[in-house]
């Protein structure tokens, strides 16, 4: 039997500390949808997603009610569309993006990921067409998310793709200029992309994945922050221990939901992604955890160390709670989606350079950062290259999701709404990397890739 305090603790985590399952993401393989006629391909994609995913939202809502825990997002990830579109006799994959958008809306999900390409070492024909289609695809659809992998520890960094992605991001911003460049909020550039990530905008269903799968992303920065309030004044070991125990509990809930969802959807359980994903809601911030550990403001000295501790303790606690851990697994630091990060930018304690340092020790990268609209494509490319280098050398995933907001500059604020939040425009170093970016070519795989 349970102790009354255990039961009340669980319910307090849910009702007061924003404990939730952040996303149930169904991965669906589209490998059997390829066809020379793009209209046939689009129809096959629509049919497959609406069939496989037809009960996803209902199952999510049922589990939410039965267990009494909010399941915030129900989403779908698909095989990178560059692979599916490659057989089409077409010079744009925008019709396939529209099919994804329509299918996602038909089954009631809020994002669908996989308008993606992986060009770590170079392009195929389909990769080229897909990447060229991204700006328009993001402008004419609402819920389609796109990602491009431009490097990895095993392959090095494709600098031609890095240069191109700077231009693609600028173009995506331009085409959605009247909506504060929302297109860029749905576009991620990866180094060491993972095939089973359930979180958007970077989710795609990798080629190593099965026909369909359920991956679950847990959350709960608010729960960790609350637990740490009880160990104020104690040494840093107590902080690590408290985070571990809390992460364990959070992950167990995710595991329960994932297994049950997979069973009811008649598919297999893939992984739990042990990530602390913030939302703009009060009490759901990763920055506030770092401040609870003892910083005056996130971004100040000590930020990288506290984030490293948090990221590591979350993994250690979560690992034992789930039989299969994967995805990105770590703390997320998206600026516009975290009330504490936003406040830190506003009070001048958090800069782009500090965020770059933080990405060395957390799970992803420069995420949801609004920058001046006049930032050049080359500068964006160079920021991508820096971030990719961190990922490549440290054998970890890094990502860049920058939003150069047309017509706005430092001091302005941009509002994306909903889970995407809002953000003050951040200052970017304006010394030019143009000659470096113009070189093109490929950064060779690092010495640590030679592990065999």
């Amino acid at each position: 039997m349970f102790e009354i305090k255990d039961i009340l603790e669980t319910n307090r985590m849910i009702s007061e500390n924003n404990l939730d399952v952040r996303t149930i993401t169904m991965g669906i393989s589209l490998r059997d949808c390829a066809h020379p006629d793009i209209n046939v391909t689009a129809q096959k994609i629509y049919d497959k997603i609406t069939k496989k995913g037809e009960n996803l939202v209902k199952v999510g809502e049922d589990l939410e009610a039965e267990f009494g825990i909010p399941i915030i997002n129900k989403r779908v990830s698909v095989t990178p569309i560059s692979i599916i579109g490659e057989s089409c006799d077409a010079n744009s994959y925008v019709p396939l993006a529209k099919a994804l958008d329509a299918a996602g809306k038909a089954i009631g999900i809020n994002f669908i990921g996989g308008f993606s390409a992986q060009v770590d070492k170079g392009y195929t024909k389909g990769d080229k067409i897909l990447i060229a289609s991204i700006p328009e695809a993001l402008a004419v659809t609402d819920i389609v998310c796109s990602s491009v992998a431009i490097g990895s520890t095993k392959c090095g960094i494709n600098m031609d793709a890095v240069a191109e992605m700077g231009r693609v991001i600028k173009k995506a911003a331009e085409l959605t200029a009247e909506r504060d460049a929302i297109g860029c909020a749905k576009l991620v550039v990866f180094c060491n992309a993972v095939p089973d990530n359930p979180f958007m905008a970077g989710a795609f269903h990798g080629v190593t994945e099965p026909e369909s799968v359920i991956n679950v992303g847990v959350s709960g920065p608010g729960v960790v922050k609350r637990a740490l309030e009880d160990v104020r004044g104690q040494d840093i070991g107590a902080v690590a221990e408290t985070i571990k125990k809390t992460a364990f509990k959070i992950t167990r809930v995710g595991q329960l939901v994932a297994q049950e969802a997979a069973r009811r959807l008649n598919t297999q359980f893939g992984i739990i992604d042990l990530s602390l994903a913030p939302t703009p809601a009060v009490g759901d911030s990763v920055a506030h955890i770092l401040e609870e550990i003892g910083l005056e403001s996130c971004g100040g000295p000590g930020t990288t160390a506290t984030l490293a501790l948090l990221n590591d303790a979350v993994k250690k606690g979560g690992l034992m709670a789930s039989s299969y851990v994967g995805g990105l697994s770590g703390a997320f630091i998206p600026v516009s989606e975290d009330a504490g990060m936003i406040a830190a930018v506003e009070r001048g304690s958090l800069t782009l350079e500090k965020l770059e340092a933080m990405t060395c020790v957390c799970s992803v990268g420069l995420d949801m950062i609004a920058i001046p609209g006049d930032t050049s494509a080359q500068t964006i490319s160079a920021i991508i290259a820096d971030e990719a280098a961190i990922g490549m050398i440290n054998n970890k995933t890094t990502a860049v999701r920058l939003i150069p907001v047309p017509g706005k500059g430092v001091g302005d604020v941009v509002e994306f709404g909903g889970l995407l939040g809002y953000c003050p425009i951040m200052r970017v170093n304006t010394f030019k990397p143009d000659v470096f970016i113009a070189r093109g070519g490929r950064i060779p795989a690092p010495i640590r890739s030679l592990t065999n």
Partner: protein, 89 residues
Amino acid sequence: MRIVLTIVGKDRVGIIAKVSNLLAEHGVNILNINQNILEGFFNMVLIADMAAADVSLKDLQEMAAQIGKEIGVEIKVQHEEIFTAMHRI
């Protein structure tokens, strides 16, 4: 299937009576009740078995929430597994 029913709110006469009456009416068998008053607040955790129940968990949740509204307390009904997952290895 076992459920956990929790009640939190301001103490008053007849809370348990109302709830146990609802459970009895629908064939939900009470296995354990744990109740106390913490700082003037009524806290109760009740574990019950729905094997012979004539309602679904969803319907029971709605009926319990309605009673909670009437008597000014919060009543939640959840599948027991979420607590097992979190508090038992």
